[in-house]
């Protein structure tokens, strides 16, 4: 088997999970084992320990794994009855539950796999020569995890590990993890004081500090201005609405679980909105429309609220309230393809501004429906065919590389997802373009055509920069906190060499602030070198040092981030350069 194939890697890692469990059972014989699957880049195993363990115990377990591994010559398959199987796990309610399930309450045999002295209930999928192949592994961390992922169940102890075919690959992966740790947006968010959380305010509800808020404001203005240029109509609609609105849209049954409980106001039930579309449709309905107005591209920086379990929350990546750069394009059916195409133009433009490359940093996924599944997807075969064809066509005409994914569509139509990987290699849908042939009927959207008759439009749902919170998390990690000049909270640090130069520094500050450059003066009673180090630690793009020599020339000594010395420049000259780099959104 190809040692780089996903199948081989999965077998390798699952085998390593067996090895982990074998070591744990030898060291902590009173432990109850549960399950240990392969995951992306590694594996985990969940245990119920009779004593608390910590990261400090991992080296000991790892050493035991290496010791055991030598005696594992292969994986032997055995079949046991349910009763025999249960005897292998005295008092282990988790395994007993699985055995009942897999044996269909005793009707079927259960497969076990044995390596050396260790065996375990398992469906199979292992390497042939564990003693040779299971060499390049490392245990990474310990976390809590509910049995079967449900918070109603007991919390177990999960041990994560990674395993690779070669030492080089393992080392590379560990290096990536180290890098990712340094880039972790939660860590950088704290270090650079970009955002914070408060127990009193509540979980999953970030508070953006002045510096993080500056980046967010720049992002938001950039996206709004760019959309306005491209003919979007930006609006503001309320963040709460009557429950009836989401019943009308048909979202309620599909989204109920993600919505928060209703708030009663004068006998009516109001919801924190989980999506913007019905709000934009109500706005559309406030006026009659003509074919001449089509397409109408309603856009909004919309605050949305979706329930996430507290255990799932993670920095800005998974939150309970987020701001989506959302839009709903109401257009005539023959305009749909060109509108979808224009959305992809916009998305690619934005990606390019952030320095992201198609294929490397993101790729397209065409998410399709399932004609058979009438519960999950609105029934209308002809419309599904038409819409799926239209989206596929756009991607083909653009010569964009894309994968197709069955059963990933929205209930109202197929969509193009822009998939991005974060620094940990986890893939997520960052932005989507969705074709909708359902909402227009539910809301009775129409416009008057050339013949004076009412005609139904189609609707395209799309996000351009996705959720601001999630995009911010992504960008912090992508840039490792070193934002391009235009996004940097502080763009220029001023470092006067001594107190004599404060007056001049203040003059320079004023001069640059007039050009809308964000300045911070580092004038504390500390050594100049310390102050430069401080500004560099805060990843300020430009550090301007000034002493007698610079004052004489009415200039500043310019250091670009990354310790690049640009020499002495006139203040005005520097201002022009910086302004131009901001306008052009230069990345260096």
């Amino acid at each position: 088997m190809d040692k780089q194939s996903p199948e081989y890697l999965s077998h390798l890692r699952h085998s390593c999970a067996h090895l982990l469990a074998a070591a744990v059972m030898e060291l902590y014989p009173k432990t109850h084992r549960t399950i240990g699957p392969a995951i992306e880049n590694g594996f985990y195993f969940d245990f119920e320990f009779d004593q608390p363990i910590s990261d400090d115990d991992l080296p000991k377990i790892e050493a035991k794994m290496r010791e055991i591994m030598k005696s594992w010559k292969g994986f032997e398959k055995h079949e046991l009855s349910a009763d025999e199987a249960k005897e292998q796990y005295p008092g282990n309610v988790y395994k007993h539950e699985l055995i009942d399930e897999f044996s269909e309450d005793g009707k079927k045999k259960i497969t076990f796999y044995k390596s050396g002295e260790y065996w375990d209930l398992c469906k199979g999928g292992h390497v042939g020569h564990p003693e040779r192949e299971l060499k390049h592994f490392k245990l990474l961390s310990i976390a809590g995890a509910y049995w079967r992922g449900s918070e109603k169940n007991k919390m177990l102890t999960r041990i994560y590990g990674t395993c690779w075919p070669t030492k080089i690959e393992l080392d590379e992966h560990l290096q990536r993890l180290e890098d990712a740790k340094l880039r972790d947006h939660k860590k950088l968010g704290k270090e650079l004081d970009l955002f914070t959380f408060s127990d009193m305010v509540g979980k999953g509800l970030p508070l953006w500090s002045p510096k993080g808020a500056t980046v967010r404001r720049e992002l938001e203005r950039f996206i709004v201005d760019e959309e306005l240029k491209r003919g979007y109509l930006h609006v503001y609609t309320p963040d709460i609405a009557r429950l009836d609105l989401y019943k009308k849209s048909g979202h309620y049954p599909y989204y109920k679980e993600s919505m928060y409980a209703p708030i009663k106001i004068e006998e009516e039930e109001y919801m924190l909105r989980p999506m913007t579309c019905p709000h934009h449709f109500e706005l559309y309905l406030s006026q009659p429309h003509s074919y001449k107005e089509m397409p109408m591209r309603f856009a909004e920086l919309a605050k949305l609220y979706r329930f996430e379990q507290s255990g799932e929350l993670s920095g800005l990546q998974r939150v309970r309230s987020f701001c989506l750069a959302d839009a709903h394009i109401v257009c005539r059916k023959p305009q749909a393809e060109q509108e979808v195409n224009a959305v992809l133009d916009l998305i690619e433009y934005i990606a390019q501004v952030f320095g992201l490359e198609a294929g490397k940093d993101y790729h397209y996924r065409l998410s399709l429906g399932d004609r058979q599944d009438e519960v999950k997807y609105s029934k209308d075969d002809a419309s599904w065919d038409f819409a799926e064809h239209a989206l596929r066509n756009v991607l083909k005409n653009r010569k964009s590389h894309f994968v197709e994914a069955e059963k990933e569509a929205a209930f109202y139509g197929p969509k193009i997802d822009v998939q991005m990987k974060n620094v940990n290699g986890k893939e997520d849908t960052a932005f989507t373009v969705q074709y909708d042939f359902v909402m227009l009927k539910r809301f009775e959207l129409s416009y008057i055509n050339e013949e004076g008759r009412a005609e139904q439009p189609v609707v395209i749902h799309r996000s351009s920069i996705g959720a601001i919170e999630r995009s911010m998390a992504f960008l912090i990690e992508h840039y490792a906190g070193a934002f391009p000049l235009w996004l940097s909270p502080v763009q220029v640090a001023l470092v006067p060499i001594s107190e004599h130069h404060h007056e001049y520094a203040n003059k320079v500050k004023k001069q640059l602030e007039e050009k809308n450059i964000r300045i911070e003066l580092y004038a504390e009673a500390e050594s100049m070198q310390n102050r430069i180090r401080l500004a560099a630690g805060e990843k300020v793009p430009y550090i301007l040092v000034m002493g007698d020599k610079e004052i004489e020339q009415n200039g500043v000594a310019v250091r670009q981030r990354g310790n690049v010395n640009l020499g002495v420049m006139g203040v005005e000259e520097f201002a022009v350069k910086a302004r131009e780099e901001v306008e052009k959104k230069v990345i260096w």
Copy 2:
């Protein structure tokens, strides 16, 4: 008595209310009268009619008032026992309720006043010669009103009227009302398609159409940019938070009635936030602070939610969710005066940008606490004295005219209110600057002073432009929908004379859009005159007409709003002029 004095005007109008009731009782004898006070600029009287009446009935009632008035030579005072008084109002539960109350359940006599044949229970306060003085009145409108203002009581019919000492004053007032009707923001909001409401979304929750949203965006950016320039730290904090936060801040008992019901999330109760302060304090607490950072001016365009009865909702003026340009300045006690002064500088600057004049369009009110009222106001005499003195000092040093109002302070300290009158003459608090010596204790806010010890700051709460919704309502009415160029949703209308000129018009459009000027092309198959009329009706500041002559000169014929013909200008020349007027926020 001085005929312009508030006392005389009140007597005049209350007398006129008697006259209204007299006429109603003659025309509709089965009516039950209730109360009829003087109000600002007029009076009303609430009745329970046995038949519905409408605006169409007002002329008849008015005619009857004029007829009766001639026989009214004065107001005679009488005293009746409670039982005698009740006999005057057979079956009238409202009057009987009042009589029980005023007579302290029969213990005291009740005063009545008689004019001509009419008499009524009344505490007094009338004119001496009704037949001469009650001449310049007009009935204005009919509305529903709950008995004693409580929605739990029966809905009565309220008739509004106005009355003045002279015909000139009456006519002027009626003209003002006519003007106000034309300026009504609800009417203009619809005509100019600025905002709308949807029953499906819910009451008091405006949806901002693209044009209204453009004005709002310009307003928001203006205020944020101006605040940033003045050293404010703009942040984003969540619109919901745990109920516990508002208990910690002490707001909950005071604001409970204005807050919406809690939402339960994983066993915790969350509230739609009614104010921003505790959110900003939690952000402050996320980092240690030094005296060198003081003052820290946390600002936010904060969405807030406060309950309003559906009957109280009115356009953008009274809504259930609004966006407040809010800020909380954390500073050292000796910095407080200069910070309050800087806030007033900002407020006056903004007012001046909008073309508002101190004294005419707004005035200051110093709202004080009440040392005796320990329920409503936090007990701390020394702090109240210090803070009230500080605020008064600022106003005095500015030589600002201000009135003082007892018992109008916030529970945590005194405040300066900026009072504005809307086009209907109704006065409202538009912005406030509040001194707070309570929150810092509840949140244990502190900073490290020069000696390395923790010291308590003070907090100044302020809004600069108030609630965006309410300010927008005010500005729509103030400008009668004709926004200054920088705020106008469409800044320039392009009117090509005929189809031959469309290509040129599109070229001009592109050229101006590159200068960030908001353009609309009026190129429908209608006469040029109609298209100009259309654009003028939409109050577009500049209409550029272009035909052969203009094309030849690479120019446009410029008409400024108000039908001012500026002649032919080069396109570039016009662009520069328009850009400059936008930058300078010129009002004409």
